[in-house]
């Protein structure tokens, strides 16, 4: 299985994502620079890593989401390419219109950096099939703009559609409905503010994130 990690200026979790992917697939992912116009052939799963692409200028993820490689990934995602974005990656996916809603400044205006308990809302998805539904996992969070917002109609649509995959046990940022991670209608594009790629080794303090990578990679 060939995977890829997209690198933007000021991505900083690209290496963490690469380590996680190699650990699960046994193969180094391709590291793809954001100026590339086309994803290399044969890539089955793409990670948009965390970080502070473009210094969060304008809005977190806004500039990165308009880069050439994202245009190609967006087009391919409509034909089923599996994509996950963590933290800044999630912000990029919402800014690109690949996931509904938006991520706003944390309600208490503070940067929050700590292990966060999450409830697995559904195991009926390609990204969570290896978890037990309603079980609890712990992933680190580290963000300033993780406050998930969507208007009433969109919120009700994603709730009814089973698109909310993770919720915070103790909401750290003001996200509506305690939403921590969502998937698109097609089930192939996933984003979350917490960092599963930083919970894959006992030295991290936990390995709860591994099953997320195993879940999606098994389906490709």
């Amino acid at each position: 299985m060939q995977t890829a990690v997209i690198r933007f200026p000021a991505s900083n979790c690209d290496r963490d994502a690469a380590v996680a992917l190699e650990k699960v697939t046994g193969r180094k992912p391709l590291m793809v620079w954001h100026r590339e116009t086309e994803l290399p052939a044969g890539v089955g799963f793409v990670v948009m890593p965390g970080g502070f692409s473009y210094g969060d200028y304008l809005r977190a993820g806004a500039i990165a989401s308009r880069s050439p490689i994202v245009r190609d990934i967006k087009a391919k995602s409509k034909r089923g390419l599996a994509v996950a974005g963590f933290c800044n990656g999630f912000q990029i996916l919402t800014e690109a219109g690949m996931l509904p809603g938006a991520l706003m400044r944390n309600k208490n205006l503070k940067f929050v950096c700590r292990p966060e308990r999450l409830k697995v809302e559904s195991s009926n998805s390609r990204f969570t099939q290896k978890y037990d539904a309603k079980s609890e996992v712990t992933f680190p969070v580290a963000h300033h703009d993780g406050n998930y917002f969507a208007d009433k109609d969109v919120l009700s649509r994603i709730e009814k559609g089973g698109q909310v995959l993770f919720r915070y046990a103790e909401n750290p940022n003001g996200s509506l409905n305690d939403i921590a991670g969502i998937v698109n209608e097609g089930g192939n594009v996933f984003g979350m503010m917490p960092h599963p790629e930083r919970a894959i080794d006992p030295m991290h303090g936990g390995t709860d994130g591994l099953d997320l990578f195993k879940s999606i990679l098994e389906t490709i």
Binding site: T94, L109, A150
Partner: protein, 82 residues
């Protein structure tokens, strides 16, 4: 010519920064401040002389990049030099 683009949060979207600014002004004795909204201004220097055409282009810029219309509104003010 110039275009000033004002971008701010839509009504009903929580603006914790605006709320904090209002509270801080109240603390300084400006009790008439009932609320504050924080947004941003983007000043664009544009080539060309057709203000209407330019404004249409700036609107497109707002929709494509300058505002996230899920949460933000925008307003355009054209400044044409005499």
């Amino acid at each position: 010519m110039k275009a000033l683009v004002y971008v701010g949060l839509k009504p009903g979207v929580l603006d914790p920064q605006g709320r904090t600014i209002a509270r801080s002004l109240n603390d300084l004795g400006f009790n008439e401040v009932e609320s504050a909204l924080q947004g941003k201004v983007i000043e664009l220097n544009l080539s060309g002389t057709d203000a209407d055409a330019a404004e249409a282009r700036v609107k497109e810029m707002c929709e494509k990049l300058l505002a996230n219309t899920v949460i933000e509104n925008y307003r355009i003010e054209m400044q044409v030099e005499e």
